[in-house]
Symmetry: C2
Subunit: 325 residues, 2 copies
């Protein structure tokens, strides 16, 4: 037992008196709940480059038996439940990536532009919180032409969000989505994406640079063909000093479904078989090289490592660090 | 292939001309790297309560064969490597927790106060980033008297950091750490913690409320005996509406070591056997109830679920959400 000194006892008495409410002085008002999340921004270093993962919110997609084309609804629900997630929705977060090479600011994918789900469209606010002016972006690299990756290029009114950026897109994406014969041959449900690509790109077509895979498209950043999810779907590897990382874009959607079960095919895949082959090849490479990967639909900060498991792979999220390292 | 319209070709030519550097006008200056992490703050709801996890940085402890008392160094290193972490250090993050009940702001544990590791002590800055004034804290609940939990009560100069807060500490902690006979009987290496407890508490002893386990110590918040790590180590459960969560404090240290291997005993445990029994019992309860747990030494945001596995348990981190829910 502790023995209270006389001084402490006196302090105690004084405190007890002070704690008695004074007449006429109301109790301190409660602080209201914030209701807001902290900025969805996470930074780390690759060599001398500073990477910033920038969240654009989450789309909560109602789960149906059509979301995974070749797995039972029960198996998909079990995969969600194993992660302590609700089994009636698939959370699909969006996280773009900014690379500061020291001389250039390179943005990879641009978010939904607030033009998709009500619970998405926070990329602009998160960039602002990170102190990044859209005017300072030098280069944009696009992985593919699905709306959650390209809509952020423009406001709803068609103004450029990143007015000083050179926009680079995979040539094979342009060839597919901007081709009217492909649009006319596509199922009705897919027409929206073709029309959306025209909305974004038609009036700036002359400024948009079309890039090939396997090229250094910005200092230290190389385009990597990752076809299947879409015909020209492109990943990007980033190398600086003796470190490198791989921006996987949509090589997998929600990792608790598609990293753990790489043969599962999402409804969004244009060519599901090719997407699965690409997925397995790229996850294999990431696991072998123990490199950080950034997945556009991974849980924020969307950064992790890939481990090989008995039946597939697993995502090991990076451990949050209090300073970029 | 896309056919470029005449207008687009002209735009393209104009763009090519514009891209040519103008004499006398330098290229835009590169934006310097930030060098800073985004605030270590994460919010979620438990019923009508808003929880805020507040990071205080990370201590990178050089790994020796003494850190886990009853496992081989090789096994500990393998557990770190499985998580793609360096095998020469154990990262020990610190994350305190704030509960806004709607009428009270209750802070559980107070961080290192910048008085432990150089890579820790960011709690004040993170609170400021979250818009939380230390003066607005009504109640402090302390889990135990190790310095990384109590040092934040005071500045280095001995001033109170949370001047309006009622400080509640487990009675069994006070009885142990403030007892000179216990201090005199302790091994030399443990004396520092006894002296530090005196530095923090001696001159405010009369104001410090000593609490028993199994009591509602703040609205909806109940103290839970979790003895072993220290003699009075106390967890806290938080309930609002039909939801509840469990603040585990130091029931486990680094989860990739001690959640996955609950029988492992950390060098910091005062009674390693009792700590392991407590750990297994509380992880069992958390797994059975599928409740969110908050672990003081879990990777930020330090929030997750506990899953039972064949050999122990696993931590399933919460999926980051763009708004508290």
């Amino acid at each position: 037992m502790i023995e209270l000194s006389r001084r402490n006892l006196m302090t105690s008495t004084a405190a007890a008196l002070a704690a008695t409410a004074m007449p006429g002085i109301p109790a301190r008002a409660a602080v209201p709940a914030s209701g807001k999340q902290a900025p969805g921004v996470y930074r780390y270093k690759i060599g001398s480059y500073e990477i910033t993962a920038i969240n654009d919110g989450t789309w909560y997609l109602a789960l149906s038996d059509k979301f995974v084309k070749n797995a039972s609804l029960a198996d998909v629900q079990k995969a969600l439940a194993d992660q302590f997630l609700p089994i009636d929705t698939v959370p699909i977060p969006f996280t773009a990536m900014l690379v500061n090479t020291g001389s250039k600011l390179v943005l990879i994918d641009t978010g939904t532009g607030g033009q998709l789900a009500q619970t998405a469209g926070t990329m602009g606010a998160n960039m602002a919180a990170a102190g990044i002016d859209p005017k300072s972006i030098d280069t944009i690299l696009i992985s593919h032409f699905h709306p959650d990756h390209i809509n952020g290029i423009k406001t709803k009114d068609g103004a450029k969000v990143f007015p000083n950026a050179e926009i680079n897109v995979p040539a094979a994406e342009w060839a597919y989505w901007m081709d009217d014969s492909k649009m006319n041959a596509a199922p009705e449900a897919a027409r929206g994406a073709f029309l959306n690509a025209r909305r974004i790109f038609s009036d700036i077509a002359g400024e948009v640079k079309r890039i090939e895979p396997g090229k250094e498209v910005a200092p230290g950043i190389t385009s990597v063909a990752a076809y299947g999810h879409t015909p020209g779907h492109t990943a990007y590897s980033v190398a600086s000093g003796n470190q490198s990382m791989l921006y996987l874009a949509d090589v997998t959607n929600n990792p608790w479904l598609f990293v753990r079960n790489p043969e599962w095919q999402a409804a969004f895949d244009v060519d599901g078989n090719m997407a699965a082959e690409t997925r397995k090849a790229m996850l294999d490479r990431a696991a072998a090289d123990k490199m950080i990967v950034q997945g556009y639909h991974f849980p924020f900060p969307a950064s992790g490592y890939i481990a090989k498991t008995a039946k597939g792979y697993d995502l090991i999220p990076v451990m949050w660090q209090p300073s970029p390292s």
